[in-house]
Structure formats: C-alpha cells, structure tokens
C-alpha cells in the first residue's frame, strides 16, 4: 500500500465523511458549468450578441470562479478540522508532515476530479432546462437549442482541475501540524464558552438600529450618499449581533432558571451557547452573503419593473407620435402617412386622434392649456375617465411620472397660478387630477371649450398624434413597433415595443444577476450544512448519553428541530430583514413602490431556505435516531 492507495482508500471507504465536501464541490462545479454552457452557446457567438452582455458574462463567470475558490477552500478546511485525530494518529505512527500533506493533496485532488466530472455530468443533464429558462428570461428570438457543449466542458474542466490543484497545494500547506497532543485530543477539548461584552452587545443594537433607521428615512438622491456608511454600519452591527448580542442573550437565558430549566430547553441552549463561537462567524458570513444575493436580485428585478412600468404609464396609447420642434408640416404629414400605412399592411385596425398642444404665457412662463374637448377625445381613446369642466374653473393635470422631479411638484406650482383670459378675467384652478393621456411633463390646465377660445395667441404649439390599435396581440404590436422604429426613429413611440427592447437589453443582466445571486445563496446554504454536519458526531454522542437518562424520540426531535431551525433560519432571517430594508431604501430612491417585487424575491428565497431546512432536518434526525437505537 502506498500513500496514493491510502488516500484513495480513505475517500472510497469513508464516503459519508467525504460526501458533504464532495457534494458541495460538485454543486459549485455545476453552477459554473451551467453558466459556461450558456455563455458559450453558439447562438450568442454567431449572432454577434451584445458586446456588453458578453463582457458582463465574462465578469460574472470570473466572480463565480473566485467565489468557488473561497468556498471550496472553506469547505476543505472545515472538513480537515474534523479529521484532527486521524492526522495525530498518523504522526504518532511516524508519518512525516510531507507524507500527510501528500495524502491530503491526493485525496483532495481525487475528490476534486470526481466533483468536476460529476458537476459537468449533472450540468449536462439539466442543460436543456437551463437553456429553456434562459430563453424566456433573455427574450432571444432564436430558440436556444440543445447542443453538445464541448467548449463549456473544456473550460469548466480545465478551470476546476486548476482550482482544485491550487486548493490542494494550499490546503496541504496550511495544514500546519499543531502540537501532537492537541491533535490527538482534538475532539475531546472543550472550545470554552464564548464571553459576551454587554457594551459590545449594546453597540450592536445601536449600530443596527442606526443603520436601519437611516436607510428607511432617506429619500431620493440622499439614498446614494447614505448607502456606503449604512452598509458599513450594518455589516459591523451584524458581526456584533452574532458574536456578542446573541451570546449575551443566550447567557441571559441560561441565567434565567425559569426558562433554562424548563423541559428540554437546557439541552438546547447549553449546546447553542457553547457552539456559538464557531457558529457566529459562519452565521455572519451567511447573513452577509445572503443579503448581497437578495439585494442584488431584488434591485435588478425592481429596476426592470420600474423601467417597464414607467414606459407603460407614460404611453397609454399603442403608438404615440410627437414631431420635433424643427419639423415642418409636410414632414409630419408624411410620418403620419407612413405610420398609417404600416398599420394597414399589418392588417390592424387603429383609431387615431391628433391634437395641437398650445402653450400660453402666464407670469413669464409657458404653460400648457388644453380644451376639455381635446382632452376628452384622448381620454376616450385611452379608455380613461373624461372630465367635465365648468366655465369658471380649470383642472390641473399632473403626470404621476413627474414625481421623480426634484423641487416643487407641478401641481403645486399650477394651483398657485391663475389662468388669464383676453378679457382680463382670471380662472381659478379648482382640482388636481392625475392622467397620462396627454404628454405634459410639467403639468397642464384643462379649461372649458368656450374659455379656451378666449385665451388668445399661444406662445408655442406642439403637435401630438396617438393611435390605439384594436384586436391585436402583443407579437403583432411588437412587429409593428419594429417597423415603425425602423422608419421613424425617436418621434414615434410604440410602448409595447420599447418595453420589449428594454427587457431584451435587460435580460442578460437579470440572468447574470440571478445566477450569481443563486450561486451565493446556495453556497451560503452549504456553509450552514457543513457547520451542522461537522457537529453530527458530537450530537450523536450527546443524544446517546441523554437518551440513556430518558429522552423520548419525540423530545429529541423537538430539540433537534429547534436547533437546526435556529442554525438554518437565524442568519437567513437577518439577511431577509437586511434585504427588506435595502429594497425599501431602493424604492425610496426611485420613489417607486417595490413591495410586490421585493416580496416575490425575498419570499421565494425564504421558501427555498425552508425547503432546504426540511430536507436537512429529515436526514439529520434520521441519522441521530439511527445512532441511538
């Protein structure tokens, strides 16, 4: 038997110990491979796909790769920690440091190799599904057919064999053989109960509260200014929360005999407070990683919804045409003719309305004033409420979009003015309504038709034409939009087509963000899984002795259930809270309600985590019960 054979036997004959490390490595490879599979798809390389998107993907690939490196390194070192005693024994039998390093190196390389192969194989199995998802998110005209991903396989294989080689070297060197006695007694040594400082616990509370309050209070551009300090404060606060505050609370619970000595609480809390020291750092890391994932995905999703919603709101009609200032009547007529023709060739029915938008001078500024009839014509076309305007009143119209503007709202300015007539009379504005029917970025007045004729000469006149196409599906309208934007760029806007274009440009970013986010999230889950299963043997021993004193299976399940729930949920709950605050700040920044988007993103992550928790709990309890009976 050589060292190489020894290493092989270690791996193959002790699958349970290695499986966790192996699986998380495999998963990492799979994520990277799926990404590569997508990035190297022939459709993209052939089409001359968006250069920025390709660059973005390369960067994302790099991020996933670097993250994989640290993740595998962490997994490996926590895995080696659990084998202290074995190394001690080998040293005692006369193994030199070099031999142990070689053994670990071999094992690691073997696992790395298998994980790479396994990850690629699983990746190929799921590749069709991934491509289908990608197709839908990315909005690519051509479908992404299944292909044999030679390039992706090659890149993944080489990258990860390199990665595992590096890590194997790395691990072999950080495997500093401590004092032999520490290694041999490794699993018997108590880590000691961590101490909590009350001052630091209070600081943790203050930091978190300050960060949250600031994040929730600021609005508009201030959000950007507050972002970095808040992130810093909350990160430090989170660290102290797990290392100090939680320990302090646990100690308080221990001191309180009413709680601590109640039924199974003693077993649960005593263990938790002892393990908190190791768990604290993992919790912190998981909470921060998950927060990053939640916020990134939430932001991307929110931004997309914000952009598309904005377009939809600003354009209630299928087609909106507005000539530029310099355009003469002939050009305008030609454009309208062209649009009508395009609608005809598409065999579509459309109603058209056009209006002159007149700007009048009120107190040295130009303001848009329209007659009730003109407004109602457009309102009817957009299928919105019409207005009734009395002769002695003016209605102020404001676009909800205008809320993004800095300074005073349009309605406030307009309500403060009077509309002067040529006969010297003045009309008082009466009410404010919100409507996007006519393009009035700075707000406008609607006046009674009779009074409109008494306004005098306008300072400036714009022209707007709108078409509302009936009985057409989205694809037809997008097709229409493509033709129109080919022939009349910028002047004519087809809302559906613009949204389509936004989604298309946005797809890759969303996809990449989703990918990285999920990769982070899954890794965070694996950290927790590792933490949990490295304690399995200690737990087995503990429950074996407690069950001898008399612990029913039901009670055991209850304890373990709570223990795992705390372990699995507390960092995620913190991350969800962080994420909620971050997304609220984001929606304050845009002044756009992101509640729906945030709930979808955070809710689905919470759901995934709960499923993960249930699965892990099932296997953990099964193992424990098996070891007891």
């Amino acid at each position: 038997m050589t060292i190489r054979q020894f290493a092989f036997k270690n791996v193959f004959r002790n699958k349970r110990l290695y499986i966790a490390y192996f699986l998380s490595s495999l998963f990492t490879v799979m994520i990277f491979f799926t990404f590569a599979l997508f990035a190297f798809h022939p459709t993209f390389s052939a089409e001359g796909f968006n250069q920025y998107a390709m660059f973005g993907m390369a960067v994302a690939g790099g991020i996933i790769y670097i993250f994989s490196f640290f993740f595998v390194l962490y997994s490996m070192s926590s895995f080696l920690q659990s084998r202290k005693k074995e190394f001690g024994l080998l040293i005692l039998l006369g193994a030199s440091d070099r031999q142990i390093r070689r053994m670990v190196f071999m094992e690691n390389l073997l696992i790395g190799f298998l994980a790479t192969i396994g990850g690629i194989a699983t990746g190929i199995l799921f590749s069709k599904a991934i491509l289908l998802i990608a197709e839908n998110i990315l909005i690519i005209e051509e479908s992404l057919p299944f292909y044999f991903p030679t390039m992706a396989i090659a890149v993944t294989f080489i990258s990860f064999i390199l990665l595992f080689l590096c890590i194997s070297f790395f691990v072999a060197f950080i495997l500093r053989t401590k004092k032999l006695i520490e290694l041999i007694k490794g699993d018997k040594q108590s880590k000691g109960e961590p101490k909590a400082s009350i001052i630091l616990s209070i600081i943790a509370t203050i930091l978190l509260a300050a960060g949250y309050i600031t994040a929730l209070q600021v609005e508009g551009l201030d959000v950007l200014a507050a972002m970095i300090p808040v992130i810093l404060v909350v990160t430090i606060g989170t660290y102290l929360l797990f290392t100090q505050l939680s320990v302090y609370i646990l100690r308080y619970l221990r001191r309180n005999k009413l709680i601590f000595w109640r039924k199974t609480n003693m077993v649960l809390f005593s263990d938790l407070s002892f393990r908190m020291k190791d768990n604290a750092r993992t919790f912190f890391m998981v909470a921060i990683i998950s927060t990053v994932a939640f916020s990134a995905i939430g932001t991307l999703y929110g931004l997309q919804s914000y952009l598309t919603k904005g377009v939809k709101d600003a354009h209630p009609f299928t087609i909106t045409y507005q000539p530029w200032d310099g355009d003469n009547e002939e050009e305008v007529n030609q454009d309208i003719e062209t649009i009508n023709k395009i609608i005809e060739t598409g065999n579509l029915n459309a109603k058209m309305e056009s209006v002159e938008l007149n700007y009048f001078n009120i107190e040295d500024d130009n303001y848009l004033i329209v007659s009730a009839t003109d407004f109602n014509r457009f309102a009817m076309l957009a299928d919105e409420n019409t207005v009734q305007v009395e002769p002695d009143e003016a209605i102020v119209v404001e676009q909800s979009q205008a809320a993004l503007m800095q300074g005073k709202k349009a309605s406030e300015i307009l309500m403060g003015l009077n509309v002067p007539l040529t006969d010297g009379q003045k009309i008082q504005p009466s009410t404010v309504i919100q409507s996007e029917v006519l393009p009035a970025f700075y707000g406008m007045y609607i006046v009674n038709d009779d009074k409109f004729n008494q306004l005098g000469e306008p300072e400036r006149t714009d022209y707007t034409v709108a078409w509302q196409v009936q009985n057409a599906n989205t694809d037809q309208i997008i097709e229409l939009g493509r033709k129109i934007s080919d022939q009349i760029a910028y002047r004519a806007v087809v809302a559906e087509y613009t949204i389509f274009e936004i989604n298309r440009g946005y797809g890759p970013i969303l996809f990449i963000g989703l990918f990285i986010g999920i990769a982070f999230f899954v890794s965070a889950g694996s950290f927790l899984y590792f933490r949990l299963f490295s304690d399995l043997d200690a737990d087995k021993q503990k429950f074996r002795s407690i069950s001898k004193i008399g612990l029913s299976i039901g009670e055991l399940k209850k304890i373990v259930n709570r223990q795992i729930a705390l372990l699995f949920m507390s960092p995620i709950i913190v991350a969800l809270l962080h994420g909620t605050v971050a997304l609220t700040a984001l929606s304050n920044f845009f002044n756009y309600n992101l509640t729906l988007e945030a709930s979808i993103v955070l809710g689905s992550f919470a759901l995934i985590q709960i499923i993960y928790f249930l699965i892990v709990r099932f296997f953990y309890i099964k193992q424990l019960i098996k070891s007891i009976s």
């Binding site: 038997m1 060292i3 270690n10 002790n14 040293i91 005692l92 004092k179 041999i184």
Partner: protein, 254 residues
C-alpha cells in the same frame, strides 16, 4: 534503553498545574515495566512525554541515547516509525483500512516494498492468531481482535520500545489475558522493551517491574519475584496502601 532525568511537566493556564515532578526512570533493554497509579496521578502524561506526543517542561528523555524531543520534525517522524510502537486503550485503528492495511501502515509510511510488507503482515498475524481476519474491516472485528491488530501494527516494524496505554482497558478478562500473554511473548522473544500504563493489577502482574506514581511523583516500585501470583498480591497490597492517606494505614500495619 530508556532514561528519564528529572522530568517535570507543568500545564500552563489560569491555574498552573504540576502534572509531573522530577521523575527519574531507567528501563533496561528488554525489560517490561508497568506504570500504575490512581487516576490523575500523571501516568498517562508520563507515557505521552516518553512517546513524544507531549513534551516535558524540564528534564530530559533519552531513548537509546537519543533525545527525541530535540530531533527535527522529519527525523522525529523517522524516529517514531522506526524505534517506537504504540498500543492504545481504544485501539485507534483507522476504520477506512482493512485489518491487514492497518497492520502494514507504519511500513508503508517508510516506503517498504509490498512483497516484504505482505510477508511480515502474514507472519505477525500468524503469531497473534489473526490470520483469518486480515481482509476484514475494523468494524467487523471484536475488541480483543482489534487490540491484537493494534499490537501487530505496533510490532510489525520491530521497534525497540513498545508503549502501551491501558491496553486491556476496553477488553474482557479472557481477551485481556490473551493480549497480555502476547505482549509478554513479544517482550521475551523479540527483546523489545515494553512500557505499559495500566489500572489493572492483573495486567501489571505480567511485567518485570511495577512503578507506582502518585500526584506526579514516583511513589515506589516493586520487582517481580518467583511467582506471578505473589507479584500480583504485592501489587494489590501496594495499591491499597496508596489508595488512602498512607499515614492512616501505617499505624495499623507497623
């Protein structure tokens, strides 16, 4: 063979704890020495220091005129695999390996040829009566068998000094007897020096000499005379003497 000069061990910490005080000990080549003493007397610490698992705070350990604590790391590894053999209370076999692989482990570390290792393993398994279980895994064999495998592993490279920490601690009386007889055989035939820490007076009675430690100090020693039975009785007497406060007994006995 083995010489200890004024070996002391102090565990640093909030309260420094003196585990061993000025231990002097000489073990002749081929001698079988048992170390006894109540729990916490420092006997395992002493064994750990001799076996290079732990290092002494002051004093000197010499095995075959060499001080293992002054060797460089690689030399120490070689020293361990060539000069020392270990037997533990809980066997400490590697459960990923078969019985045979466990036995040859020290030789593989030394890079010996497979043929040679096979032959040696077969020989030693024959002497220890574990030939039929060579291909079994460690969880498929009994405690007595496991300790014999551990002995085989400790002996395969013919070390000069064999160190045993409670080798019978986890065994029933029949297995204990077998294991002790094997150790005596090895000691007599191979002329291997043997140092054993034990609680068990029965096991200790197989030795040539028993050293008693109490509170980290050498208490006394007794040599085996003509009969093992008489030796066992002397050990029992000494243990009962050490068990309580010695002054209590002295008034009765003297």
């Amino acid at each position: 063979m083995l010489q200890l000069k004024k070996v002391s061990k102090i565990y640093e910490g909030k309260v420094a704890y003196r585990a061993l005080t000025d231990i002097d000990l000489d073990v002749e080549s081929g001698e079988f020495v048992a170390i006894m003493g109540p729990s916490g007397s420092g006997k395992t610490t002493l064994l750990n220091i001799i076996s290079t698992i732990d290092s002494p705070t002051t004093g000197e350990v010499k095995i075959d005129e060499k001080n293992p604590h002054q060797l460089k790391k690689n030399e120490l590894a070689k020293f361990r695999r060539n000069e020392l053999g270990f037997i533990f209370q809980d066997f400490n076999l590697l459960h990923t390996l078969t019985v045979e692989e466990n036995i040859v482990l020290p030789m593989t570390l030394d890079g010996k040829r497979v043929k040679e290792m096979k032959k040696k393993a077969a020989e030693i398994a024959m002497t220890l009566g574990i030939s039929p279980i060579l291909s079994k895994r460690t969880f498929e064999i009994s405690g007595g068998q496991a300790q014999r495998v551990a002995i085989a592993r400790a002996m395969i490279h013919q070390p000069k000094l064999l160190l045993a920490d409670e080798p019978t601690g986890n065994l029933d009386s029949k297995s204990s007897k077998d294991v002790m007889e094997m150790l005596v055989n090895i000691n007599k035939q191979e002329k291997t020096s043997l140092l054993m820490v034990t609680h068990d007076p029965q096991a200790a009675s197989y030795s040539d000499r028993v050293i008693f430690i109490r509170d980290g100090k050498l208490h006394s020693e007794i040599y085996c005379g003509e009969s093992r039975q008489a030796f066992f009785q002397k050990i029992m007497d000494m243990l009962s003497l050490m068990g309580g406060d010695s002054s209590d007994y002295s008034s009765i006995r003297v």
